[in-house]
Symmetry: D2
Subunit: 370 residues, 4 copies
């Protein structure tokens, strides 16, 4: 049991604090013989990197990843892959207030209550900086899953403003700084975030992830369920407060006949589902339909507005957070969510393969008994 | 790694199919010396038991639990506790259609695609019957947690009809067959479910869980987060499609200053939070505030309305499910959700204790460094 | 983390005390579609069963195993397999002395010191009775491994009397009550054990296990080593105090050129090792040679000779164990050792398959990179 | 499940190859508030370091460890501790023969058969270099265990030459380059190893570990046994082929009355054992007596004597290993064995504490039920 690892057969352990000398992770269980180089990981880190638009924290980090083990002559060897990123832009400053006080809505006080000690510099271990390693691990997970599976994420809501789904265009997510799949919405968000930043406030967000091409059979009853582990992976991202699979909470309002996805057969003998309310998972197992998951990110607690707080010594105080921070941390959560989903899928792919040497690629019927 | 276990130090492994000779579980890691008898578990099973109102499945099971190991002279011994419940009311019938066809929205097809074989009788392993063992394990978890922690659940929504929170009364949840905390809403639901059952349809639901008295410090960064593991536990319950902690998805619409729970000091030197948007968890660690979680249950896929489906042989068919079934499985999910939350808390209590021999009981400041 | 489970992908959890109503286990991770019935398990239990010769405990148990889940129409379904054996011959007696005193060399006092409570009836959880479930799980493990792998055990030493290896005959192990591979030695042991039993004493033993046909590639660097997990599995059997792989402790006395197994190529392109000092494992990974392991079992602590002991109340006493007991528990450890080795191999086979979909069957060179 | 991790609550994951840029580990689960600096770890690394006498490999490494996370202002924070050591002395050379051939008795061929690819430079992942990280983790484990527990190791046999136990002096282990507890034996070994090195050969060894002051109650039935996990930890060290607890294999030759350690009460109400054949463990649980374990290390396979081998291409060849190597790797295994034992004890201490908040410090009777 590790509090800093996730996955079972594709297993990632991360370490590091925001203002320590470096952050890193160990990826254990990656199959041998896969081509892998730093250049395969770096683009995903660049996409997550802070400082890339004025809507995210202005911390400047190159986030250049180094592979320290597990790769030989350009291929994975089956031994653990260690990744490391140096911390460069740890602004030297007086941490007096943050060291002594607990920001409302921040993990500060929880760490203090649990451990009695915390590295308060830049949020320490609870900093979103750690998510860089998740993104790096996710890049390796994509290698394991292979090119047949496409994992994409989009921001579908900032504050109360939702994207127009009728205008959904995946290509658009790469053209605006919000991963927004709709240009018109992106334009509104530009204004919304500018106003929020000026007001010294912050906003929450909702991210939607879609994985296409996932083979059926991943996951398992009853506690190794694919959807349960996706839920844990997404809820474990900083600031996340809700997770949905498929229709999610909206499914509660549906009648049984609306919710159950009907099926028919395609000409080629594969099963076609006529809808995807289930979000690609039934009974904890993938069906071959696209996996659809959403998660909600709360607004950053580090804001300029003064808030009532308490100190380490048990005194009452007022606190406002000055410095570089994201007005909407949800934006940078998009590549992190993609990476977590990739890691869960890679893990379950290996787990499925262990029990089913001839794991099927498509939901084709009938399937012979072993 | 077990696909049929949950928890780490308080670890539950369940087994059994709906129509096999019995279902059971093994609870490993229960501390020694705790008083425990079958009578401590049975009331929770009785509350979950089918056949108790016309709004749940009419299967008749006494669900009499037997303790087969791990208890000696009325006390736990620290060795694994085996629990078992015999299956009595497995109506002998022709399973022809269910054996040959896949119900839309049901785990049938996923099991088939993964394993190529399934016990189709009564849903086999995917039957809600298995949740009896979760409830039994939850009763032991409550013993581990101790009487200082209160874990309660309520149904807050059936279909699109939500409870009136202004009229919330925990006592009321014991007076109606819906675990509804508001008598007026319960009356409406009575009519709603009658109509639904007559129409041969089904409805989804939302359950809210509240755990009060949870000590601060349970959970951990970053992948052993309390909220992440609650999310996995609840998403792993049959038919669940969404999970929220605290404000959940609504947090996305809040501004930072609305969402961050302010703090002040009480006279007795403990921290008081002025709100609980966080649902009792910050940075994956409990703060001492009530833990609040919600989960959404989709409508049962077993309905009378005919639906397009496919067969094991790959032929198209129409399917309607005749027989005893819940018009709203969400009702019976309330004690199951409570039990899962109890198990997660028991597990984290033991985990916290391992690292912190003097685990604090209340969020009192200052806490001395070890 | 479970203290009562072993294996990762082929995972066995046992429960039960010597004099409780039953003992049982849950086997999780068994691949689907394998033919399995109680008749596949029972013969292994019969071989281990007490009361079969005067050299083992005279407790009379039919040890009839029941499969309670995970098998449907004669095939495994991929869901957990629950096995159970009722306890019949729990002689009702006065446990006064055993309840109050700690037998020298017995787990009694350790349980007391750890838990403060113990089920003293028949040794409770520490009774060799639990090993019946290991044997049952081992029968399923053999199904997973398949008929190409042969796992056999033999008793090679009782007390200081060792078997004559020049006369080794596997068939002979089935003809005498000692699993002795040499008839002449078996005859000596008959006399030795009669004398030991009459003297109210007991003797230790050494068991050797050989697994032939194991494919290369099972195991892994560095902490999932095949030999390390075999060592844990064997050391975890009751009363075991030592474990060896291949030459074991004798390897310490060899020169490097004696110990290193030379290789050449066979006509068919496979590697032939010219010796097997390594016992089939190099760097924690199987090489395709026979796996050879040995373990030492201490003499039973339950003897007629009076011994100085202490009581629960902290008083000094003298203790002698009256009742049915094995003069040499090592005899019954042979099928238990075989079963544990089978479980470890099944687990590693699944683990290997997860990372290597085209796991090779024979040490043939060259192997193409994936 | 990680193939490169060990421990459960005190969990160590190592990474790195002999000739990569660095090696490292992540220690997860270390309790917060413990004083820790690089200076607490370095002395243990210095003791293990190669190049310190002519009897061990002449590779020159400073082995300067860096703490990259998990420590703040000189104290552990409860977050993962990352340690790293740079590789300096990776002699650039032609690896042609080692790259193309498999050394007899070496892990080379096993890696090839499993993975189809391997980092052959300096042994890659199978190099003894990795054990530096175990030693570093062991230093942290000692912090967790506390100063009341003393863990020491000694070399008790090189080749067939055993130490004279009557002359055992722990102080002497620090005065000679062999960790030999007897000066006379050490003098003989000096000659023995010089001769072995000149002959281009190598020798095996046996190491004995003793942990004093271990509290009773560590470990658990039945698969989380303290001795089973010690066995796995020691068998997992490079080149180890046998493990014993207490009397080990010699216990097989004892009669029951010889082997069972008698008990009496001390004046202060604690239990005194009159012997320690059990090596401090009964039923998988520590009794408060010294933990005694031994392990056998085979002779290095890298020797000057030509040996029959095969190549990657499946051709027969003759091989001799030229270069810097240990004539007796067992020497450097002493601090590694100590470290592994420390890690197992730290892990079990935390595990015990989880279930027993008031874990007793001494085997004092009676113990009140919880």
């Amino acid at each position: 049991m590790s509090h800093n690892s996730f996955g079972h057969l594709f297993r990632v352990t991360t370490w590091g604090e925001s203002h320590g000398p470096a952050i890193g992770c160990v990826v254990d269980g990656c199959p041998p013989g896969l081509p892998l180089a730093e250049a395969d990981i770096q683009p995903f880190l660049d996409a997550r990197r802070p400082g890339t638009s004025r809507h995210v924290t202005q911390r400047r980090e190159l986030d250049a990843v180094r592979i320290l083990s597990g790769v030989f002559e350009g291929r994975t060897t089956g031994t653990p892959i260690a990744l490391e990123i140096g911390n460069k832009d740890q602004r030297s400053k007086d941490y007096g207030e943050i060291a002594r006080s607990f920001r409302p809505g921040h993990a500060d006080i929880a760490y203090h209550l649990k451990y009695g000690v915390r590295d308060y510099r830049g949020g320490g271990r609870s900093s979103a900086r750690e998510t860089a390693m998740r993104v790096a691990a996710g890049a390796i997970a994509r290698r394991v899953i292979g090119p047949g599976v496409t994992i994409r994420g989009a921001l579908v809501q900032i504050g109360a403003d939702r994207v127009d789904r009728a205008r959904w265009d995946w290509e658009e997510t790469r053209r605006n700084p919000f991963w927004c799949p709709d240009a018109a919405t992106a334009a509104r968000w530009e204004d919304l975030l500018n106003a929020t930043r000026k007001a010294g406030s912050s906003l929450g967000a909702v991210i939607e992830l879609v994985a296409e091409g996932v083979p059926p059979g991943l996951g398992a009853p009853l506690y190794g369920k694919l959807d349960a582990e996706i839920a844990a992976a997404l809820m474990g991202i900083n600031a996340v407060k809700g997770v949905e699979i498929g229709d999610g909470f909206a499914a509660a309002s549906l009648a049984g006949e609306e919710n159950a996805d009907e099926m028919r057969m395609r000409q080629d003998g594969t099963v076609e589902f006529l809808a995807n309310h289930a979000g690609g998972v039934l009974g904890g197992i993938s069906t071959g339909q696209p996996i659809v998951a959403r998660f909600a990110v709360k607004p950053t607690s580090s804001i300029l507005t003064p808030r009532r707080a308490v100190t380490v010594e048990g005194e009452e105080t007022e606190l406002r957070t000055v410095g570089r921070h994201d007005p909407c941390v949800g934006i940078r959560a998009v590549p992190v969510g993609e990476a977590m989903l990739a890691c869960v899928l890679a893990d379950h792919l290996l787990r499925h393969r262990a029990q089913n040497p001839d794991a099927p690629g498509q939901p084709r019927l009938p399937r012979e008994n072993a």
